[in-house]
């Protein structure tokens, strides 16, 4: 076991489905982190989407991991939380991710069953405001937590002894997320509510969302 992340392998993983409003928080965080900062070669930034079992491998290779995710931990909508190590399963267990209901808790359980013992694992989660808005993007409350989430990740990395540097302001995009799905293109290309048939069904709109949701 390497006590110091400088000698180990660091994974920064964003998970969730960008097509479901605040579900995209994790992916948007790792996208923003990659666009703004550069890291040493032993640090991997990964847009994990909802790829359940496919995330076991990058997880297992990591001695230190940060996971960005939208998590239902019963807090106020938009609340950011940082949870570490043994405390994590209880939190991510609240909500299945996607792959055949292989949520992050299952990914972690299976990784451990295969012998994975990370030195450090940190979950940076946001309590979603709205999920039931297909094709929608982050709500204002959740979007406002991207910068604090990145700050939390950077201070976690600093604690582990991992350096970072700001990218040039107009530098190359890191392309962590498929370019066609980059946040500004994704939001800019969204059809109107009328065109996209986003109205008129209370099961989709009125009742949806973890906290009572609302229409976009």
């Amino acid at each position: 076991m390497s006590a110091n992340a400088v000698e180990g392998r660091v994974l920064i993983l964003g998970v969730g489905n960008i097509l479901w409003a605040d579900e995209g928080f994790g992916v948007r965080c790792v996208e923003a982190l990659g666009d703004r900062f550069a890291f040493p070669p032993n640090v991997t930034l990964l847009d994990g989407g909802t790829q359940g079992l496919l995330l076991i491998d990058p997880m297992r290779e990591a001695t230190h991991a940060i996971i960005f995710d939208a998590v239902d931990f019963g807090g106020a909508p938009g609340e950011l939380s940082v949870v570490r190590d043994e405390a994590i399963p209880a939190f991510v267990g609240a909500r299945a991710m996607s792959l055949h209901q292989t949520g992050m808790v299952d990914v972690m359980a299976l990784s451990r069953l295969l012998g994975w013992q990370p030195d450090a694992l940190t979950l940076i989660g946001v309590q979603p405001v709205l999920l039931e808005d297909y094709g929608g993007s982050l709500t204002q409350e959740v979007r406002a937590q991207i910068n604090p989430a990145l700050d939390a990740a950077l201070s976690e990395l600093a604690r582990w002894g991992v350096a970072h540097a700001a990218r040039p302001a107009f530098g190359e995009d890191a392309d962590i997320v498929t370019p066609a799905l980059a946040l500004h293109l994704y939001e800019g290309g969204r059809p109107s509510a009328e065109a996209a048939c986003r109205m008129g069904d209370e099961r989709v709109l009125a009742q949806g969302g973890l906290n009572g949701g609302r229409a976009a």
Binding site: I18, L19, S98, T102, R112, T178, D201
Partner: protein, 596 residues
């Protein structure tokens, strides 16, 4: 009340009602309700997709060259196959021809997905319907070793290996964090394997988990990255440059060697682990031949893996194409995805609205307008349904039909069609498996047959993967390194108004995307996904779909632990993420089984 369906099934909803919601170990959300008679045999089945879908509408107005990237995000398992279907639809609309290498590389991507998905499905989503994990704890490691060595030459099979594994499993179970094992009906009388076979299967569950991560490295080589590989309208995104060293997005010698090695291991694992396990498990369940449903009556495959670039006719497709109806196994009909009177979607029992719901709509004219209403006999409230009224609208999935017929799609459908067409690569493995188990051809039309067809297809796909890879290497050696045709990349080269269809055989069945492009932007986009075919509700004539048909006549040992229902539904490898969208409040994931 007893009801005869036009497609030959008898339904009786008078008995005790069992509700399973949600069905676990699937992608997406579904609910099933069945009625059992006095002997606990299923006499009526109701399959409900409990999620609303809206993929079609979020693509409107977007650049058709980007559609694949959106479709890749629909769900956690079908990433590549949606992306491939999408680029094919756009190429069909714009009449773009792709180079031979691009076709081969896409075949490699798709076959890799088939192998990966089938292995993951068998071990990680379906095996637990046949294998009792808790029983494995009482197995004798030495006897397990003897069993394993009697069925396969696979190396990891010593008594010490099984003893270690059993200890790891014990620790895992004792830790209380059961993860994927937590929702099992352990100890259920429906489990028939001896403890040693259970332990062997659990060992291979873990080995498969370890191996599956390597399979998908092929996607990273040709698609640039995982878990979301890149695709390209007009070809494939990564150039071939045999002189390059280390460049991330190039196909070079080092990467081709990596692919070659992974393919060899796919064949080895399928031949020495997956198939022996499948046959060993099947030998204990060959008296449990329920779940045939539509498979002996009406099956459909669009076909896939074009042997010749840009030729999507039946003669070019290595996975067979065709339709069988009314149980007539002597005739396979040709399928035309563009014919207005062939593929149509009905909504008389779906929570959507058509101007005239007695008629179906071809996907080019598809309408996705929500209309959520419960029937007069439903129990509960609109947000907490206790019991569905299947006489009215009852699912977020539409009912697709081929010339009015409900069809089963998937590996079993493909193998039945290939078998009937006398294609040796499909007929011979089926006959050999039936011989080995000592069961007649009719045994193929069952839950077990569906599970077996998937394994046989995995074996076929692994070998075809190797053949396609050989063709790619030969082309490169002959100096052909072209991977994309960018002549019609820019929208100014496109007609103002075009439409096209793309199709694939996804691991779980026939998948089609229909796109209309107006002035360079997507005007309409319709998908019909495999689970729509299999899991859709009844149509206005009363024909039932594949899920509902497959559940009928199955005895349920304990209505409170409906293992048999899950076993049959899982055999389809359901994936509802793209057919529908979640609506459960509070994000509850716990399955509740209600017996009324």
């Amino acid at each position: 009340m007893t009801l005869q369906t036009p497609n030959g099934f008898s339904l009786d909803n008078s008995g005790q009602r069992i509700v399973v919601d949600p069905v676990t170990r699937i992608e997406g959300h579904m609910r099933v309700e069945v009625n059992v008679d006095a002997n606990n045999v299923i006499r009526n089945a109701v399959s409900t997709g409990t999620m609303w879908r809206g993929l079609e509408v979020i693509l409107k107005g977007r650049d058709p060259r980007d559609a694949w990237a959106f479709t890749e995000r629909i769900c956690g398992v079908c990433t590549g196959t949606h992306a491939l279907t999408s680029v094919r639809a756009v190429e069909n609309a714009l009449d773009i021809q792709i180079p031979e290498n691009a076709n081969i590389i896409r075949n490699i991507m798709q076959l890799t997905l088939q192998v990966h998905d089938h292995i993951v499905h068998f071990y990680h989503l379906h095996a637990l319907d046949w294998v009792d994990v808790v029983s494995a704890l009482s197995a004798d490691p030495k006897a397990t070793s003897e069993l394993a060595q009697s069925i396969s030459s696979w190396g990891m099979s010593s008594p010490g290996y099984y003893r270690d594994l059993q200890n790891r499993l014990k620790k895992f179970v004792e830790s209380g964090q059961l993860g994927p094992f937590k929702n099992g009906y352990w100890g259920h009388p429906g489990y028939k394997l001896p403890p040693e076979a259970n332990l062997m299967a659990v060992a291979h569950y873990l080995e498969a988990l370890d191996f599956q991560k390597d399979i998908v490295k092929i996607h990273a080589v040709f698609g640039g990255k995982n878990p979301h590989p890149n695709w390209l309208v007009g070809g494939v995104p990564n150039p071939i440059n045999m002189d390059s060293v280390g460049a991330a997005a190039c196909i070079n010698m080092e990467r081709l060697n990596l692919v070659d090695g992974i393919i060899a291991r796919c064949i080895e694992f399928t031949d020495n682990v997956y198939l022996p396990d499948l046959m060993a498990i099947a030998s204990f369940y060959k008296d449990w031949l329920h779940g045939g449903g539509l498979s002996s009556k009406s099956v459909l495959s669009y076909g896939d893996i074009p042997d010749r670039a840009n030729d999507y006719s039946a003669s070019s497709l290595l996975l067979p194409r065709g339709a069988i109806i009314n149980g007539n196994l002597n005739e396979v009909f040709e399928v035309d995805l563009t014919a207005q009177d062939e593929i149509q979607e009905f909504v008389s029992h779906s929570w959507y609205k058509y101007a005239d719901e007695t008629k179906g709509l071809h996907p080019y004219d598809g309408v996705t307008e929500a209309n959520y209403q419960l029937g007069p006999n439903a129990k509960g409230t609109r947000t907490h349904i206790e019991q569905i009224d299947e006489g009215a609208k009852y699912s977020w999935i539409k009912s697709p039909r081929w010339k009015g017929h409900a069809m089963e799609v998937g590996p079993l459908a493909r193998f039945v069609i290939g078998y009937v067409q006398n294609k040796p690569e499909f007929k011979e493995p089926v006959d050999a498996a039936l011989r080995q188990l000592g069961v007649p051809l009719t045994a193929l039309f069952s839950t077990l047959g569906r599970t077996a067809a998937r394994g046989l297809e995995c074996q076929w796909a692994a070998r075809e993967l190797q053949r396609q890879f050989g063709r790619l290497v030969a082309n490169i050696k002959a100096g052909d390194t072209t991977t994309a045709n960018m002549a019609k990349w820019t929208p100014d080269t496109w007609p103002t108004s075009v439409r096209g269809v793309g199709f694939t055989e996804a691991p779980r069945g026939a998948l089609g995307h229909w796109v209309k492009i107006e002035n360079g932007k997507i005007d309409s986009y319709q998908c019909i996904v495999p689970t729509t075919w299999n899991g859709g509700p009844r149509d206005n004539e009363g024909n039932i779909g594949a899920f509902e048909a497959a559940l009928l006549d199955t005895p349920v040992a304990d209505p409170k632990q409906p293992l048999e229902i899950l076993r049959t539904l899982h055999s389809f490898d359901p994936c509802l993420a793209c057919s529908t969208h979640v609506l459960s409040d509070k994000g509850e994931e716990l399955t509740t089984v209600t017996v009324r």
